[in-house]
């Protein structure tokens, strides 16, 4: 897995709540059997004026000038700022894949949908939960007139920015260490092979019908 230790970069503010995974990466792109190639279609319906289909030349499509990521001031942004319940909807891991490939390293929101939150960690994308108030403050700072840089530090669990902005965030210990060290979760779990086998043996006597071939 990709590591995440600290990221300092421009913030792109996407002022919407309940952004669902169909918005993050529309379903027509889920037909791919690869893990890559999704960044160009991140927020496809909002980003382009014409409808998109896989296989077309996306660079030739008309950009929606009103969409925040199309504003040149936010070019190269690596931190995405959003509202409540980001990533709701489907379990598609294509959503974090698309966000990462676009160039974002972290997403800040007051809350995330569970599966999206979980999927992000598996790919080295850091979802940061701040309070409504802190997110509001960041939206106040990160405007098109004056794009700002902030830092997200996983080691110290701090977000810091201009005007003395500073906020701390929680993260569970296992996810933190996996991200900091870029650990392979499957490899880690396979170290517990004996425990898994022991569980199966015990369970097969309690509930044998679960283990019939």
């Amino acid at each position: 897995m990709q590591k995440f230790v600290k990221e300092t970069g421009l913030v792109a503010p996407l002022d919407r709540s309940n952004v669902d995974t169909d918005q993050i990466i529309p379903k027509q792109y889920l037909k791919s059997i690869k893990r890559t190639g999704f960044g160009i279609n991140l927020f496809d319906d909002w980003r382009y004026l014409d409808p998109g289909e896989p296989g077309m030349d996306h660079l030739a499509r008309r950009l929606n000038p009103d969409f925040v990521l199309n504003n040149k001031k936010f070019a190269g942004a690596t931190i995405l700022l959003v509202r409540d319940n980001f990533g709701c909807g489907s379990s598609r891991e294509h959503a974090p894949w698309a966000i990462l490939e676009y160039g974002f390293k972290a997403v800040i929101a007051p809350s995330f949908a569970d599966i999206f939150f979980n999927n992000s960690f598996k790919n080295g994308l850091l979802p940061v939960v701040l309070t409504e108030g802190e997110v509001d403050t960041l939206f106040g700072l990160a405007t098109a007139e004056m794009p700002v840089e902030i830092s997200v530090d996983l080691e110290t669990q701090q977000v810091s920015g201009p005007n003395g902005f500073s906020a701390s965030f929680d993260i569970d210990a296992f996810r933190r260490i996996c991200l900091l060290e870029g650990l392979d979760e499957i490899g880690l779990s396979l170290k517990e092979t004996d425990a898994i086998r022991a569980y199966e043996t015990r369970r097969a006597t309690e509930a044998p019908w679960l283990f019939r071939e």
Partner: protein, 471 residues
């Protein structure tokens, strides 16, 4: 020991190791796979030279991409090359890893959340996962079931376990019996309207109370299916006699001596009377009327006698702008009566409402009537090949066809429009599916979530009507 909730019991019985850092390894009894979220997982497995841990725990089907016409022509007849490749990739992966799969055209194939229970692949007391958020459906059997991402699909294939941390316990108690003509779909839509699309975030929701107990297993599946639209990965219903009867005799259900032992164990799959829930919600089932969603997420819903809301009357600025945006997208006016919304298409199907009872309910409304001329297309897509066969045995296909509905082959179809079935821009659709997000059923399409009976009545009337007056 204090009482435990059903979720606590399921968690405890699947705990392999509790780690010091708060995470845990839990054992997975059943892993369901489909073509969209598995290719990268199989690829990862192959690259790392790993093998599936326990082959018999896995069952695969094709559903999201399959065309719903002429399935018997086979995979090679799929026009869209990317859809075809994805299905072929699953076929190849299942063949090379030896995973049991119902291929396209197999009567047992269908929507993954329909076929699991149908085959008895989903059993009470199991942990069930699938790379699909509507895996919550299987919780109707007192199973701990939830959606996972592709990395986790690979993890489950390789280890038969998941790294998890325990969710919170929420109970939604639905009091009273549901009113005449009110269905499980109306119940779950109204509940989401009440608690919101993030209301259950971080929780396993147990649905309880008279309103739930009185539902059939299919109705309970409809309710648990949409737990995810309430923000919860897991929906649960305690096991009772209906659960056991539904499972009895299914192809993968326990047999002989196993059956006796299993049913004995399943009797304990209820929350203890003194169990503690972190959150308790009460929904008055007697007050619910048939529901229609008017907006672009499932909490934007109201009763058939209601109106589209007026954003000006909402004093929360974020909510106000969300309503404004939704009305713009949906092409609706503030205060417009729900009954004045006209439909261009009608879709009866999806893992929420494509089982035999759903089709019967819709057919009852349609019988002897005609789809309104203003409706471009009304389609019925059964959830599996076996549901389709059953419906045809009962003559439901004839009822639908004679009324002007299209009778299709099984699959996800217009629930998410990955195949050829989709809405055109600006079209309004009465849909029995679970998501009304922007573009969900086709770019620019406008989805209204309803029950099968409401969708059927809307097809006939050409607009939303109160189906209770038709029953």
């Amino acid at each position: 020991m204090p009482g435990r909730t059903l979720y606590d019991k399921l968690w405890d019985s699947h705990l392999v190791t509790q780690r010091d850092d708060g995470s845990a390894l839990i054992y997975i009894d059943r892993h369901l796979l489909h073509e969209v979220t598995s290719p990268q997982a199989f690829e990862g497995l192959a690259l790392a030279e790993r093998k599936p841990w326990r082959l018999s725990a896995n069952l695969a089907t094709v559903d999201h991409n399959v065309p719903t016409e002429n399935q018997s022509a086979g995979v090679s007849a799929i026009e869209d090359p990317t859809s075809r490749l994805q299905i072929e990739t699953l076929d190849q992966n299942c063949d090379s890893f030896n995973v049991t799969q119902f291929k396209m055209g197999d009567p047992r194939a269908g929507i993954v959340h329909v076929i699991g229970p149908e085959q008895g692949a989903t059993l009470p007391g199991m942990t069930v996962v699938c790379g699909d958020s509507h895996t919550a459906t299987h919780g109707a059997f007192g199973a701990l079931a939830h959606g996972i991402g592709t990395s986790e699909v690979e993890h489950v294939l390789a280890t038969q376990c998941l790294v998890a941390s325990k969710m919170k316990n929420m109970r939604v108690t639905v009091t009273g019996p549901l009113g005449f003509g009110v269905t499980a779909k109306d119940l779950i839509l109204a509940t989401i309207g009440q608690i919101g699309t993030a209301g259950g975030t971080g929780c396993a929701i147990e649905f309880a109370g008279e309103g739930i107990q009185s539902l059939s297993m299919e109705g309970r599946m409809t309710v648990c299916n949409m737990a995810i639209e309430a923000g919860a990965r897991v929906g649960l219903v305690a096991v009772d006699e209906k659960t056991v009867e539904y499972v009895r005799g299914r192809p993968l259900a326990p047999r002989g001596e196993d059956w006796g032992r299993a049913t004995e164990a399943w009797a304990d799959l209820v929350s203890d009377p003194d169990a503690n829930f972190d959150y308790e919600i009460v929904v008055d089932g007697t007050l619910i009327e048939p529901q229609v969603s008017w907006g672009t997420n499932p909490e934007m819903v109201t009763g058939i006698s209601g109106h589209v809301p007026d954003p000006k009357l909402d004093d929360d600025p974020i909510r106000r702008s969300a309503i404004e945006r939704a009305l713009r997208y949906m092409g609706l006016e503030p205060n417009q009566p729900i009954e004045s919304i006209h439909l261009d298409r009608v879709f009866i199907g999806s893992c929420t409402n494509s089982r035999i009872e759903d089709l019967r309910e819709a057919a009852r409304v349609v019988d002897g009537k005609r789809v309104a001329d203003s409706v471009i297309q009304a389609m019925v897509v059964p959830g599996s090949g076996l549901v389709k066969e059953q419906a045809e045995e009962e003559g439901l296909d004839i009822v639908f066809r004679e009324a002007g509905f299209e009778w299709r082959d099984p699959g996800c179809s217009m629930c998410l429009a990955m195949n050829a079935d989709r809405l055109g821009p600006g079209e309004h659709c009465a849909s029995t599916s679970n998501r009304n997000f922007e573009g969900r059923q086709g770019a620019g399409g406008r989805s209204h979530l309803v029950s099968p009976a409401m969708a059927a009545a809307a097809a006939i009337a050409g607009r939303f009507v109160d189906v209770r007056e038709w029953l």
